[in-house]
Subunit: 227 residues, 2 copies
DNA sequence: TCTTTTGCAATACGACTGAAATGTAATCGG
DNA sequence: CCGATTACATTTCAGTCGTATTGCAAAAGA
Protein backbone atom coordinates (compact mmCIF):
# COMPACT_ATOMS: atom_id res chain seq x y z
CA UNK A 1 0.00 0.00 0.00
CA UNK A 2 2.77 2.39 0.90
CA UNK A 3 4.47 1.70 -2.40
CA UNK A 4 1.34 2.12 -4.45
CA UNK A 5 0.50 5.34 -2.68
CA UNK A 6 3.89 6.96 -2.85
CA UNK A 7 5.34 5.67 -6.10
CA UNK A 8 2.38 4.43 -8.06
CA UNK A 9 1.22 0.95 -8.92
CA UNK A 10 3.93 0.64 -11.53
CA UNK A 11 6.46 0.56 -8.70
CA UNK A 12 4.68 -2.35 -7.05
CA UNK A 13 6.77 -5.40 -7.84
CA UNK A 14 7.36 -8.48 -5.77
CA UNK A 15 10.89 -7.34 -5.01
CA UNK A 16 9.85 -3.84 -4.05
CA UNK A 17 7.05 -5.06 -1.85
CA UNK A 18 9.41 -7.49 -0.17
CA UNK A 19 12.03 -4.81 0.36
CA UNK A 20 9.50 -2.34 1.70
CA UNK A 21 8.21 -4.96 4.10
CA UNK A 22 11.73 -5.96 5.06
CA UNK A 23 11.30 -9.57 4.02
CA UNK A 24 12.59 -11.74 1.24
CA UNK A 25 10.93 -11.96 -2.12
CA UNK A 26 10.56 -15.66 -1.56
CA UNK A 27 8.35 -15.04 1.42
CA UNK A 28 6.07 -12.81 -0.62
CA UNK A 29 5.88 -15.56 -3.18
CA UNK A 30 5.15 -18.07 -0.50
CA UNK A 31 2.04 -16.21 0.56
CA UNK A 32 1.04 -15.05 -2.90
CA UNK A 33 1.74 -17.50 -5.64
CA UNK A 34 1.30 -14.92 -8.33
CA UNK A 35 1.45 -11.18 -8.44
CA UNK A 36 -2.14 -10.98 -9.49
CA UNK A 37 -3.08 -12.83 -6.33
CA UNK A 38 -1.22 -10.24 -4.33
CA UNK A 39 -2.85 -7.35 -6.13
CA UNK A 40 -6.29 -8.82 -5.78
CA UNK A 41 -5.73 -9.38 -2.10
CA UNK A 42 -4.51 -5.81 -1.67
CA UNK A 43 -7.49 -4.40 -3.48
CA UNK A 44 -9.84 -6.54 -1.44
CA UNK A 45 -8.12 -5.35 1.70
CA UNK A 46 -8.48 -1.71 0.75
CA UNK A 47 -12.15 -2.13 0.03
CA UNK A 48 -12.79 -4.21 3.11
CA UNK A 49 -11.07 -1.69 5.35
CA UNK A 50 -12.95 1.19 3.83
CA UNK A 51 -16.28 -0.56 4.06
CA UNK A 52 -15.60 -1.63 7.61
CA UNK A 53 -14.50 1.82 8.65
CA UNK A 54 -17.55 3.42 7.12
CA UNK A 55 -20.04 0.89 8.39
CA UNK A 56 -18.49 1.21 11.84
CA UNK A 57 -19.03 4.92 11.57
CA UNK A 58 -22.61 4.32 10.58
CA UNK A 59 -23.43 1.98 13.43
CA UNK A 60 -21.61 4.19 15.89
CA UNK A 61 -23.28 7.43 14.92
CA UNK A 62 -26.35 6.06 13.20
CA UNK A 63 -28.54 6.25 16.24
CA UNK A 64 -27.52 9.64 17.46
CA UNK A 65 -27.47 11.49 14.15
CA UNK A 66 -30.31 12.43 11.92
CA UNK A 67 -30.14 10.96 8.41
CA UNK A 68 -28.91 14.19 6.83
CA UNK A 69 -26.11 14.49 9.35
CA UNK A 70 -25.31 10.83 8.99
CA UNK A 71 -24.98 11.19 5.24
CA UNK A 72 -22.67 14.12 5.65
CA UNK A 73 -20.57 12.22 8.14
CA UNK A 74 -20.24 9.37 5.69
CA UNK A 75 -19.31 11.60 2.81
CA UNK A 76 -16.70 13.35 4.90
CA UNK A 77 -15.31 9.96 5.76
CA UNK A 78 -14.88 9.16 2.11
CA UNK A 79 -13.05 12.36 1.28
CA UNK A 80 -9.26 12.19 1.53
CA UNK A 81 -8.97 14.95 4.07
CA UNK A 82 -6.10 13.58 6.11
CA UNK A 83 -2.86 11.93 5.23
CA UNK A 84 -3.76 8.27 5.81
CA UNK A 85 -6.90 8.70 3.81
CA UNK A 86 -4.98 10.48 1.08
CA UNK A 87 -2.73 7.46 0.88
CA UNK A 88 -5.76 5.24 0.72
CA UNK A 89 -7.18 7.45 -1.99
CA UNK A 90 -4.05 7.18 -4.07
CA UNK A 91 -4.12 3.42 -3.74
CA UNK A 92 -7.76 3.30 -4.71
CA UNK A 93 -7.16 5.54 -7.68
CA UNK A 94 -4.27 3.43 -8.82
CA UNK A 95 -6.39 0.32 -8.53
CA UNK A 96 -9.21 2.01 -10.32
CA UNK A 97 -7.02 2.51 -13.34
CA UNK A 98 -5.68 -1.01 -12.86
CA UNK A 99 -9.08 -2.64 -12.82
CA UNK A 100 -10.13 -0.75 -15.91
CA UNK A 101 -8.02 -3.27 -17.77
CA UNK A 102 -8.84 -6.30 -15.63
CA UNK A 103 -12.61 -6.16 -15.28
CA UNK A 104 -12.81 -9.42 -13.37
CA UNK A 105 -11.06 -7.86 -10.40
CA UNK A 106 -13.43 -4.93 -10.30
CA UNK A 107 -16.43 -7.11 -9.58
CA UNK A 108 -16.26 -6.67 -5.84
CA UNK A 109 -15.83 -2.96 -6.34
CA UNK A 110 -19.09 -2.75 -8.21
CA UNK A 111 -20.85 -4.75 -5.56
CA UNK A 112 -19.78 -2.64 -2.60
CA UNK A 113 -20.49 0.50 -4.57
CA UNK A 114 -24.03 -0.67 -5.21
CA UNK A 115 -24.41 -1.49 -1.54
CA UNK A 116 -23.25 1.95 -0.54
CA UNK A 117 -25.52 3.55 -3.10
CA UNK A 118 -28.53 1.71 -1.80
CA UNK A 119 -27.77 2.74 1.75
CA UNK A 120 -27.37 6.39 0.83
CA UNK A 121 -30.56 6.22 -1.16
CA UNK A 122 -32.35 4.90 1.91
CA UNK A 123 -31.02 7.73 4.01
CA UNK A 124 -32.09 10.27 1.44
CA UNK A 125 -35.51 8.70 1.39
CA UNK A 126 -35.65 9.04 5.14
CA UNK A 127 -34.69 12.69 4.95
CA UNK A 128 -37.30 13.34 2.32
CA UNK A 129 -39.91 11.63 4.46
CA UNK A 130 -39.17 13.63 7.59
CA UNK A 131 -38.25 17.01 6.18
CA UNK A 132 -40.60 19.22 4.30
CA UNK A 133 -37.86 21.41 2.92
CA UNK A 134 -36.11 18.69 0.96
CA UNK A 135 -36.95 18.72 -2.73
CA UNK A 136 -38.47 15.68 -4.33
CA UNK A 137 -35.76 13.84 -6.17
CA UNK A 138 -35.39 10.23 -7.05
CA UNK A 139 -33.40 8.98 -4.08
CA UNK A 140 -31.36 6.60 -6.21
CA UNK A 141 -30.40 9.38 -8.59
CA UNK A 142 -29.57 11.61 -5.68
CA UNK A 143 -27.45 8.91 -4.07
CA UNK A 144 -25.70 8.23 -7.35
CA UNK A 145 -24.97 11.89 -7.80
CA UNK A 146 -23.84 12.40 -4.26
CA UNK A 147 -21.43 9.50 -4.34
CA UNK A 148 -20.13 10.58 -7.71
CA UNK A 149 -19.65 14.09 -6.40
CA UNK A 150 -17.72 12.87 -3.38
CA UNK A 151 -15.55 10.62 -5.52
CA UNK A 152 -14.91 13.47 -7.91
CA UNK A 153 -14.04 15.80 -5.08
CA UNK A 154 -11.71 13.16 -3.75
CA UNK A 155 -9.91 12.82 -7.06
CA UNK A 156 -9.51 16.55 -7.36
CA UNK A 157 -8.26 16.68 -3.81
CA UNK A 158 -5.69 14.02 -4.58
CA UNK A 159 -4.54 16.12 -7.49
CA UNK A 160 -4.46 19.18 -5.25
CA UNK A 161 -6.80 21.00 -7.55
CA UNK A 162 -8.21 22.85 -4.58
CA UNK A 163 -8.02 22.90 -0.82
CA UNK A 164 -9.74 20.65 1.67
CA UNK A 165 -11.91 23.54 2.76
CA UNK A 166 -13.12 24.19 -0.76
CA UNK A 167 -14.02 20.55 -1.20
CA UNK A 168 -15.94 20.44 2.05
CA UNK A 169 -17.67 23.68 1.14
CA UNK A 170 -18.69 22.27 -2.22
CA UNK A 171 -19.96 19.13 -0.53
CA UNK A 172 -21.94 21.16 1.97
CA UNK A 173 -23.39 23.27 -0.79
CA UNK A 174 -24.57 20.14 -2.53
CA UNK A 175 -25.98 18.70 0.66
CA UNK A 176 -27.76 21.96 1.22
CA UNK A 177 -29.38 21.54 -2.17
CA UNK A 178 -30.25 17.94 -1.50
CA UNK A 179 -31.67 18.34 1.96
CA UNK A 180 -33.18 21.75 1.70
CA UNK A 181 -31.24 23.24 4.56
CA UNK A 182 -27.94 22.99 6.32
CA UNK A 183 -27.22 19.44 7.39
CA UNK A 184 -24.13 20.61 9.24
CA UNK A 185 -23.92 18.61 12.44
CA UNK A 186 -24.05 20.25 15.85
CA UNK A 187 -20.78 21.83 16.80
CA UNK A 188 -19.97 23.60 13.60
CA UNK A 189 -16.35 22.59 13.65
CA UNK A 190 -16.23 20.78 10.37
CA UNK A 191 -12.70 19.61 10.71
CA UNK A 192 -13.54 17.75 13.80
CA UNK A 193 -15.40 15.37 11.60
CA UNK A 194 -12.85 15.49 8.88
CA UNK A 195 -9.85 14.26 10.76
CA UNK A 196 -11.21 11.78 13.17
CA UNK A 197 -9.01 9.06 14.51
CA UNK A 198 -9.83 8.71 18.20
CA UNK A 199 -12.92 6.56 18.55
CA UNK A 200 -11.03 3.32 18.86
CA UNK A 201 -9.44 1.44 16.03
CA UNK A 202 -12.04 -0.64 14.35
CA UNK A 203 -9.39 -2.75 12.74
CA UNK A 204 -8.67 -6.07 14.37
CA UNK A 205 -5.17 -7.11 15.16
CA UNK A 206 -2.60 -6.57 17.87
CA UNK A 207 -0.98 -3.15 18.07
CA UNK A 208 2.36 -2.61 16.50
CA UNK A 209 2.12 -5.34 13.95
CA UNK A 210 3.82 -4.80 10.66
CA UNK A 211 1.82 -4.57 7.48
CA UNK A 212 2.73 -8.06 6.44
CA UNK A 213 1.43 -9.57 9.62
CA UNK A 214 -1.64 -7.45 9.23
CA UNK A 215 -2.14 -8.51 5.68
CA UNK A 216 -2.01 -12.14 6.62
CA UNK A 217 -3.44 -11.62 10.04
CA UNK A 218 -6.78 -13.25 9.52
CA UNK A 219 -5.40 -15.84 7.18
CA UNK A 220 -2.04 -17.07 8.42
CA UNK A 221 -1.17 -18.84 5.24
CA UNK A 222 -2.26 -18.70 1.65
CA UNK A 223 -4.97 -16.10 1.90
CA UNK A 224 -6.30 -16.71 -1.54
CA UNK A 225 -4.89 -19.93 -2.77
CA UNK A 226 -6.15 -23.41 -2.24
CA UNK A 227 -2.76 -24.65 -1.18
CA UNK B 1 -3.57 6.27 -26.62
CA UNK B 2 -5.07 3.10 -27.96
CA UNK B 3 -2.66 1.05 -25.89
CA UNK B 4 -3.26 3.01 -22.73
CA UNK B 5 -6.99 2.77 -23.15
CA UNK B 6 -7.22 -0.89 -23.98
CA UNK B 7 -4.39 -2.43 -21.98
CA UNK B 8 -3.55 0.16 -19.36
CA UNK B 9 -0.62 2.46 -18.98
CA UNK B 10 1.54 -0.41 -17.83
CA UNK B 11 1.35 -1.81 -21.34
CA UNK B 12 2.67 1.42 -22.80
CA UNK B 13 6.28 0.75 -23.66
CA UNK B 14 8.39 2.12 -26.47
CA UNK B 15 8.21 -1.18 -28.30
CA UNK B 16 4.48 -1.56 -27.89
CA UNK B 17 3.82 1.97 -29.01
CA UNK B 18 6.05 1.44 -32.01
CA UNK B 19 4.37 -1.84 -32.88
CA UNK B 20 0.91 -0.38 -32.47
CA UNK B 21 1.88 2.52 -34.70
CA UNK B 22 3.51 0.17 -37.18
CA UNK B 23 6.91 1.80 -36.93
CA UNK B 24 10.25 0.86 -35.47
CA UNK B 25 11.17 1.56 -31.88
CA UNK B 26 14.05 3.63 -33.15
CA UNK B 27 11.64 6.02 -34.81
CA UNK B 28 9.75 6.48 -31.56
CA UNK B 29 13.03 7.21 -29.86
CA UNK B 30 13.91 9.61 -32.59
CA UNK B 31 10.88 11.76 -31.89
CA UNK B 32 10.86 11.23 -28.14
CA UNK B 33 14.26 11.04 -26.58
CA UNK B 34 12.90 9.55 -23.41
CA UNK B 35 9.77 7.72 -22.45
CA UNK B 36 8.81 10.43 -20.05
CA UNK B 37 8.88 12.90 -22.92
CA UNK B 38 6.48 10.69 -24.79
CA UNK B 39 4.14 10.32 -21.83
CA UNK B 40 4.13 14.02 -21.14
CA UNK B 41 3.39 14.73 -24.75
CA UNK B 42 0.55 12.23 -24.74
CA UNK B 43 -0.97 13.70 -21.62
CA UNK B 44 -0.70 17.19 -23.02
CA UNK B 45 -2.34 15.99 -26.19
CA UNK B 46 -5.24 14.40 -24.34
CA UNK B 47 -5.86 17.55 -22.34
CA UNK B 48 -5.48 19.82 -25.32
CA UNK B 49 -7.87 17.77 -27.41
CA UNK B 50 -10.44 17.67 -24.66
CA UNK B 51 -10.20 21.39 -23.98
CA UNK B 52 -10.38 22.16 -27.67
CA UNK B 53 -13.35 19.91 -28.22
CA UNK B 54 -15.22 21.39 -25.30
CA UNK B 55 -14.41 24.99 -26.08
CA UNK B 56 -15.44 24.35 -29.65
CA UNK B 57 -18.71 23.05 -28.32
CA UNK B 58 -19.08 26.16 -26.23
CA UNK B 59 -18.45 28.60 -29.02
CA UNK B 60 -20.62 26.62 -31.39
CA UNK B 61 -23.63 26.30 -29.11
CA UNK B 62 -22.94 29.15 -26.72
CA UNK B 63 -25.04 31.65 -28.59
CA UNK B 64 -28.03 29.48 -29.28
CA UNK B 65 -28.36 27.78 -25.91
CA UNK B 66 -29.38 29.23 -22.61
CA UNK B 67 -26.73 28.94 -19.87
CA UNK B 68 -28.46 26.03 -18.17
CA UNK B 69 -28.65 24.10 -21.41
CA UNK B 70 -25.10 25.02 -22.26
CA UNK B 71 -23.89 23.68 -18.96
CA UNK B 72 -25.73 20.45 -19.51
CA UNK B 73 -24.29 20.13 -22.98
CA UNK B 74 -20.81 20.58 -21.60
CA UNK B 75 -21.29 18.06 -18.84
CA UNK B 76 -22.68 15.54 -21.28
CA UNK B 77 -19.62 16.12 -23.40
CA UNK B 78 -17.40 15.25 -20.50
CA UNK B 79 -19.17 12.01 -19.67
CA UNK B 80 -17.79 8.91 -21.38
CA UNK B 81 -21.03 7.99 -23.08
CA UNK B 82 -19.63 6.69 -26.34
CA UNK B 83 -16.75 4.47 -27.22
CA UNK B 84 -14.16 7.08 -28.26
CA UNK B 85 -14.87 9.07 -25.17
CA UNK B 86 -14.66 5.95 -23.06
CA UNK B 87 -11.24 5.36 -24.48
CA UNK B 88 -10.32 8.94 -23.70
CA UNK B 89 -11.66 8.48 -20.20
CA UNK B 90 -9.57 5.41 -19.62
CA UNK B 91 -6.50 7.24 -20.81
CA UNK B 92 -7.27 10.19 -18.58
CA UNK B 93 -7.87 7.94 -15.62
CA UNK B 94 -4.62 6.12 -16.21
CA UNK B 95 -2.78 9.41 -16.44
CA UNK B 96 -4.51 10.66 -13.35
CA UNK B 97 -3.03 7.83 -11.36
CA UNK B 98 0.24 8.36 -13.18
CA UNK B 99 0.47 12.03 -12.33
CA UNK B 100 -0.33 11.35 -8.71
CA UNK B 101 3.25 10.22 -8.49
CA UNK B 102 4.74 12.83 -10.79
CA UNK B 103 3.18 16.08 -9.63
CA UNK B 104 5.16 18.23 -12.02
CA UNK B 105 3.33 16.75 -14.97
CA UNK B 106 -0.05 17.48 -13.48
CA UNK B 107 0.47 21.22 -13.44
CA UNK B 108 -1.29 21.82 -16.71
CA UNK B 109 -4.12 19.61 -15.53
CA UNK B 110 -4.73 21.86 -12.55
CA UNK B 111 -4.68 24.91 -14.72
CA UNK B 112 -7.22 23.73 -17.25
CA UNK B 113 -9.42 22.42 -14.46
CA UNK B 114 -9.42 25.84 -12.82
CA UNK B 115 -10.27 27.41 -16.15
CA UNK B 116 -13.18 25.07 -16.64
CA UNK B 117 -14.37 25.66 -13.12
CA UNK B 118 -14.37 29.40 -13.58
CA UNK B 119 -16.34 29.11 -16.79
CA UNK B 120 -18.97 26.87 -15.24
CA UNK B 121 -19.20 29.20 -12.28
CA UNK B 122 -19.87 32.07 -14.67
CA UNK B 123 -22.62 30.14 -16.38
CA UNK B 124 -24.18 29.24 -13.07
CA UNK B 125 -24.05 32.88 -12.10
CA UNK B 126 -25.82 33.73 -15.31
CA UNK B 127 -28.51 31.17 -14.64
CA UNK B 128 -29.00 32.46 -11.14
CA UNK B 129 -29.30 36.00 -12.45
CA UNK B 130 -31.93 35.21 -15.06
CA UNK B 131 -33.96 32.50 -13.34
CA UNK B 132 -35.98 33.01 -10.24
CA UNK B 133 -36.30 29.33 -9.55
CA UNK B 134 -32.63 28.65 -9.10
CA UNK B 135 -31.60 28.41 -5.48
CA UNK B 136 -28.97 30.70 -4.08
CA UNK B 137 -25.68 28.85 -3.99
CA UNK B 138 -22.12 30.04 -4.21
CA UNK B 139 -21.47 29.64 -7.95
CA UNK B 140 -17.91 28.51 -7.38
CA UNK B 141 -19.02 25.83 -4.96
CA UNK B 142 -21.74 24.78 -7.33
CA UNK B 143 -19.29 24.61 -10.23
CA UNK B 144 -16.83 22.64 -8.13
CA UNK B 145 -19.52 20.22 -7.12
CA UNK B 146 -20.92 19.88 -10.61
CA UNK B 147 -17.55 19.13 -12.15
CA UNK B 148 -16.73 16.72 -9.37
CA UNK B 149 -20.06 15.01 -9.89
CA UNK B 150 -19.49 14.64 -13.60
CA UNK B 151 -15.98 13.33 -13.08
CA UNK B 152 -17.27 10.89 -10.51
CA UNK B 153 -20.04 9.75 -12.80
CA UNK B 154 -17.47 9.29 -15.51
CA UNK B 155 -15.29 7.12 -13.33
CA UNK B 156 -18.21 4.99 -12.30
CA UNK B 157 -19.23 4.72 -15.92
CA UNK B 158 -15.77 3.56 -16.88
CA UNK B 159 -16.04 0.91 -14.19
CA UNK B 160 -19.49 -0.02 -15.51
CA UNK B 161 -20.99 0.59 -12.10
CA UNK B 162 -24.19 1.63 -13.78
CA UNK B 163 -25.58 2.34 -17.19
CA UNK B 164 -25.23 5.45 -19.30
CA UNK B 165 -28.88 6.23 -18.75
CA UNK B 166 -28.53 6.12 -14.99
CA UNK B 167 -25.57 8.45 -15.10
CA UNK B 168 -27.38 10.93 -17.32
CA UNK B 169 -30.42 10.69 -15.08
CA UNK B 170 -28.30 11.42 -12.01
CA UNK B 171 -26.71 14.35 -13.80
CA UNK B 172 -30.10 15.71 -14.79
CA UNK B 173 -31.36 15.31 -11.26
CA UNK B 174 -28.44 17.34 -10.02
CA UNK B 175 -28.93 19.97 -12.68
CA UNK B 176 -32.56 20.11 -11.72
CA UNK B 177 -31.49 20.87 -8.18
CA UNK B 178 -28.98 23.45 -9.32
CA UNK B 179 -31.14 25.28 -11.79
CA UNK B 180 -34.51 24.90 -10.17
CA UNK B 181 -36.14 23.20 -13.11
CA UNK B 182 -35.43 20.92 -16.00
CA UNK B 183 -32.58 22.21 -18.12
CA UNK B 184 -33.05 19.43 -20.64
CA UNK B 185 -32.49 20.95 -24.07
CA UNK B 186 -35.10 20.82 -26.82
CA UNK B 187 -35.21 17.54 -28.61
CA UNK B 188 -35.36 15.16 -25.72
CA UNK B 189 -33.17 12.57 -27.35
CA UNK B 190 -30.38 12.57 -24.88
CA UNK B 191 -28.11 10.34 -26.83
CA UNK B 192 -28.11 12.74 -29.68
CA UNK B 193 -26.19 15.10 -27.48
CA UNK B 194 -24.04 12.43 -26.03
CA UNK B 195 -22.88 10.79 -29.16
CA UNK B 196 -21.87 13.49 -31.57
CA UNK B 197 -18.52 13.22 -33.20
CA UNK B 198 -16.25 16.23 -33.32
CA UNK B 199 -16.02 17.08 -37.00
CA UNK B 200 -12.84 19.14 -36.82
CA UNK B 201 -9.39 17.72 -37.34
CA UNK B 202 -7.69 17.37 -34.06
CA UNK B 203 -4.89 19.66 -34.99
CA UNK B 204 -3.69 21.67 -37.93
CA UNK B 205 0.06 21.70 -37.98
CA UNK B 206 2.62 22.68 -40.55
CA UNK B 207 5.76 20.59 -40.50
CA UNK B 208 7.43 22.49 -37.73
CA UNK B 209 10.96 22.51 -36.50
CA UNK B 210 10.01 21.06 -33.14
CA UNK B 211 10.31 17.31 -33.40
CA UNK B 212 7.79 16.78 -30.66
CA UNK B 213 5.24 19.00 -32.32
CA UNK B 214 5.83 17.22 -35.55
CA UNK B 215 5.41 13.86 -33.98
CA UNK B 216 1.98 14.79 -32.79
CA UNK B 217 0.78 16.82 -35.71
CA UNK B 218 1.69 15.07 -38.89
CA UNK B 219 1.93 11.37 -39.10
CA UNK B 220 5.47 10.68 -40.18
CA UNK B 221 5.33 7.60 -42.33
CA UNK B 222 1.97 5.98 -42.71
CA UNK B 223 -1.30 7.66 -41.88
CA UNK B 224 -2.18 6.10 -38.58
CA UNK B 225 -5.92 6.47 -38.72
CA UNK B 226 -7.73 7.53 -35.62
CA UNK B 227 -10.09 4.66 -35.93
C1' DT C 1 13.98 -42.22 14.47
C1' DC C 2 12.43 -41.50 9.95
C1' DT C 3 9.60 -39.16 6.66
C1' DT C 4 6.78 -35.57 5.22
C1' DT C 5 5.17 -31.10 5.27
C1' DT C 6 5.56 -26.20 6.25
C1' DG C 7 7.88 -21.59 6.14
C1' DC C 8 10.94 -19.23 4.29
C1' DA C 9 15.62 -17.78 1.66
C1' DA C 10 18.37 -17.68 -2.36
C1' DT C 11 19.01 -18.04 -6.88
C1' DA C 12 18.23 -19.07 -11.70
C1' DC C 13 15.57 -18.13 -15.97
C1' DG C 14 13.51 -16.16 -19.83
C1' DA C 15 11.04 -12.21 -21.17
C1' DC C 16 10.84 -7.51 -21.29
C1' DT C 17 12.14 -2.83 -20.20
C1' DG C 18 14.29 2.11 -21.39
C1' DA C 19 18.24 3.77 -23.24
C1' DA C 20 22.23 3.97 -26.00
C1' DA C 21 25.15 2.87 -29.86
C1' DT C 22 25.67 1.91 -34.51
C1' DG C 23 24.42 1.64 -39.35
C1' DT C 24 22.42 3.65 -43.50
C1' DA C 25 19.83 5.93 -46.86
C1' DA C 26 18.04 10.38 -48.00
C1' DT C 27 18.26 15.37 -47.89
C1' DC C 28 20.53 19.74 -47.91
C1' DG C 29 23.69 23.78 -47.88
C1' DG C 30 27.55 25.42 -50.17
C1' DC D 1 30.17 17.13 -56.14
C1' DC D 2 30.77 16.94 -51.05
C1' DG D 3 30.54 17.13 -46.19
C1' DA D 4 26.95 17.60 -42.75
C1' DT D 5 22.70 16.84 -41.02
C1' DT D 6 18.31 14.45 -40.80
C1' DA D 7 15.35 10.36 -40.47
C1' DC D 8 14.97 6.43 -39.56
C1' DA D 9 16.21 0.90 -38.64
C1' DT D 10 18.81 -2.44 -36.16
C1' DT D 11 21.19 -4.09 -32.52
C1' DT D 12 23.17 -4.01 -27.97
C1' DC D 13 23.17 -3.42 -23.05
C1' DA D 14 22.32 -3.24 -18.26
C1' DG D 15 18.67 -3.83 -15.46
C1' DT D 16 14.03 -5.33 -13.72
C1' DC D 17 10.19 -8.06 -14.18
C1' DG D 18 7.23 -12.37 -12.68
C1' DT D 19 7.91 -16.99 -12.01
C1' DA D 20 10.07 -21.46 -11.13
C1' DT D 21 13.40 -24.10 -8.81
C1' DT D 22 16.22 -25.50 -5.25
C1' DG D 23 17.84 -25.59 -0.47
C1' DC D 24 17.21 -25.88 4.28
C1' DA D 25 15.67 -25.41 9.16
C1' DA D 26 11.79 -26.35 11.97
C1' DA D 27 7.57 -28.70 12.96
C1' DA D 28 4.46 -32.59 12.59
C1' DG D 29 3.22 -37.24 12.23
C1' DA D 30 4.03 -42.13 12.38
Amino acid sequence: MRLAATQGLEAVSLRHVAAEAGVSTGMVQHYFRTKDEMMTFALDMVMRDAVQRITAEVTAAGRVLKPAELVRTLMIQILPLDEPRRLEGHVTLAFLAYTAVKPAIAEGLRESADQMRAFIADQIRAVQATTGTAPRIDPVHAATGLLALVDGLGIHLLGRHYSDEQAVAALDAHLGLLFGSTPAPPGDDRHDLARQDPPGQNRPGPPGDNPVARAGGTTPDRPAGTG
